[in-house]
Subunit: 438 residues, 2 copies
């Protein structure tokens, strides 16, 4: 049996940029993504990020020295099919991770060959990492749910089901786009004015939502729930997710069946999937605040209590068009931590399948907006501007209540705990374009 050294913080890669301070992609990370060489028009390839490079797994399989088992496990990746690899589950993921970690480590005999399989990230055009059959968006950020609830329902911010049911709804899969894709401001029905007639035009309350997305590994058959103690076996890894939202459209359309067009005009994913294995050193105990009801048994397990949480530091940054013209860097709007979510990814997944709903490899479970417990930690402008009442002052003198055309929103995530090499998620970026003519 291979011993897994892949988390050892002392492990170093022969890829020099992977040893740079502050890199998101040291050898302890090894996230998967889909790319083509910029402008090549070639079929998508699957790669692994290392420093500022991508290891092209198609070339790596062709040229590298791998065991027969690893060759078989790399095969779907080499033909650009991350979904098929996701379906293989944790054993294959760990086996490939151990092999790649060894091959990319200082002193590896494969250095010479694999050097020729690296593509600079600057030359890689990223795509969605996998086919997302279904996208579900949860509402597991209790601080967000409370803050937004106050705006929509001052008398009852948190509904009676919140602490029992991992609230979620189906999102739109077709309009998921990869980081870097510009986003047109949506048109939509706007709440009626004094004449009682709703408007139709560009949303005036365009917002972002800071979320973590969990991607499903092996699926389940329709009609067969996934028990809580096996839920993580069905998870592959995490990405960042910006669930852009048109708040005016949302307020008018969402009763009684939930958000629809206020969300479906685009949702942005970060390109690199950070695997459960890379996140292992950042797992933390998961508990509820004193006085809250315990999860129902189908959403509870000893493992989830011991280490269901994941310590991921999240950050939203904004760069307006004026800031870009002035050469100003993006400014941080808020920070929060995924460990503050009210439900863990395992609970979201077990709940999702609890009615027999079949999950498929590559399905996306959004966490809901991750706001921190303090004021100023809201994961959306709706919260930070208190429903548009309190404009945010930006360092260059501009203000914002909601997003304006040209605004660029960046989500970032880092894992940093004592005893582990820090890892990051890369960026999840999108820039707002003007709406089309109504």
């Amino acid at each position: 049996m291979t011993i897994d050294h892949t988390h050892d913080p002392a492990l170093r890669s022969w890829v020099t940029s992977a040893e740079a301070d502050g890199t998101d992609f040291p050898i302890q990370n090894l996230p998967f993504g889909a790319f083509r060489r910029r402008g090549s028009g070639e079929a998508l390839r699957i790669g692994v990020a290392i420093g500022d490079q991508v290891l092209d797994l198609r070339l790596a399989l062709e040229r590298g020295d791998w065991s027969p088992q690893v060759r078989a496990q790399l095969a779907p990746l080499a033909v650009g099919d991350l979904n098929a690899f996701m379906a293989l589950g944790a054993a294959a993921r760990i086996s490939v991770r151990v092999a790649l970690s060894a091959a990319l480590s200082e002193g590896s005999a494969q250095e010479g060959v694999l050097r020729g399989c690296l593509v600079p990230q600057a030359d890689a055009e990223m795509a969605l990492p996998c086919r997302v059959g279904d996208y579900t968006d949860f509402y597991a950020g209790i601080h967000h749910a409370t803050a937004v609830g106050k705006l929509f329902r001052p008398d009852q911010p948190l509904l009676p089901n919140y602490k029992w049911v991992p609230i979620g709804y189906h999102g739109r899969a077709s309009s998921l786009v990869v980081s870097g894709t510009d986003l047109r401001r949506p048109l939509g029905q706007l709440p009626p004015g004094p004449d009682g007639v709703p408007g139709y035009g560009p949303s005036r309350r365009l917002d972002y939502e800071l979320e973590v997305g969990a991607l499903v590994g092996p699926g389940n058959a329709l009609g067969e729930p996934i028990p809580m103690d096996r839920a993580e076996d069905h998870l592959f890894g995490l990405v960042l997710l910006n669930d852009w939202s048109a708040r005016d459209v949302q307020a008018w359309e969402y009763q009684p069946l939930g958000p629809f067009l206020s969300k479906s005009f685009g949702s942005t994913l970060s390109p690199w999937v950070v695997t459960l294995e890379a996140l292992a050193p950042f797992r933390v105990p998961f508990a509820r605040p004193d006085g809250d009801p315990p999860p129902l048994p189908y959403l509870d397990s000893p493992l989830n209590r011991a280490q269901g949480g994941i310590d991921i530091r999240l950050q939203v940054l904004l760069q307006t068009a004026a800031m870009r013209a002035q050469g100003l860097a993006p400014v941080a709007l808020s920070r929060s931590n995924f460990r503050d979510a009210y439900w863990t990814p395992a609970q979201l997944l077990a709940h999702h399948a609890s009615n027999g709903c079949n999950l498929r490899p590559g399905d996306l479970l959004g966490s809901g907006t991750q706001s921190g417990p303090e004021a100023g930690q809201g994961g959306s402008l709706l919260e930070l501007s208190q429903g548009g009442q309190q404009p945010l002052a930006l360092p260059n003198g501009e203000t914002r209540t909601f997003l304006e055309d040209g605004d660029r929103v960046l989500l970032r995530a880092r894992c940093e705990l004592d005893g582990a090499r820090p890892i990051g998620f890369g960026e999840c970026v999108g820039t707002v374009l003007a709406a089309p003519n109504p």
Copy 2:
């Protein structure tokens, strides 16, 4: 230019069963479906229903005599890819329809060859007709919305947005199944009892919903709305849809983000897609009741007013396990008509894309439950039993408030108007199995 005789009620087919009284599939229909010969395990094929037969389009392309244009248009169908054919749009659909209609007509020189391309429907194992990338469920049945609204919100059955916004939400694509697939009763969280703690177990209020599903033809690019006067160019055809619902789960989970697990455990589609062309003789003017607001301009067009409606007679039938054991035929529970919907398929599609959301060939738009205006015309048991308060008496002495294990629900649809040959949709059937162990 070919003259289109395909709707002529005098047109007769050499397929004898297509001339039988009451057939759903005369030569004026010609719906598309996906099938394999029962037990063959072969790759799916696309066929056209004619009487009690399926014309296998793979064989028909190989052996038949077609123009080069029709050969090219049949090509995606011959390899089993209805989505690719859907993407071609109305011109290709009409061209293939005219060619198939001529070839299947009495006196066609192709009779001899095409006879060998027929598979009895009894020997065909049907599958979902196409890949459904995204499934959206609307709420366009105003009689249903009003009746259900009364049960959930007696003070305000129809919310203020209903007559302005085609209310809809994203559904679950992975759990769409074809007619004939059994359905396990779902487990789920049930509303809290007096102790305030929700239960977890088999739904006790399992229901069906009678819906019409519209399948998308050519899609649109993300960020580019579809104007109302071109909306029907993006529709392919219609199917029947049973949107099974767990009412107890729904009541507890649906605030504030809408139905989720109460719907995602399975939705049943009829296997044959009836094209817009087959439905042409059954188009009817579309108008709103006096005093209702006109649709906003982006949801209005002269064509939609002139013939946006479709006269489709809908019916729900139930056969319990006891009825099957007693040799009793299914009993009709309710009847309604799709022309009573508050929004037309074109309006649903234009609204869906109005924010720039990209629709893809094969996407499914459910109409919402189609209940009639009168009492006893509810398209769900929730309505017929008035929220479970008034059990329905069945002819064999059984009663029902909600579905019991072994119940079989059948949806049927027929178009019958003077001057046209009646057509039907075939059946949309599912049988309820016992829940898994919690």
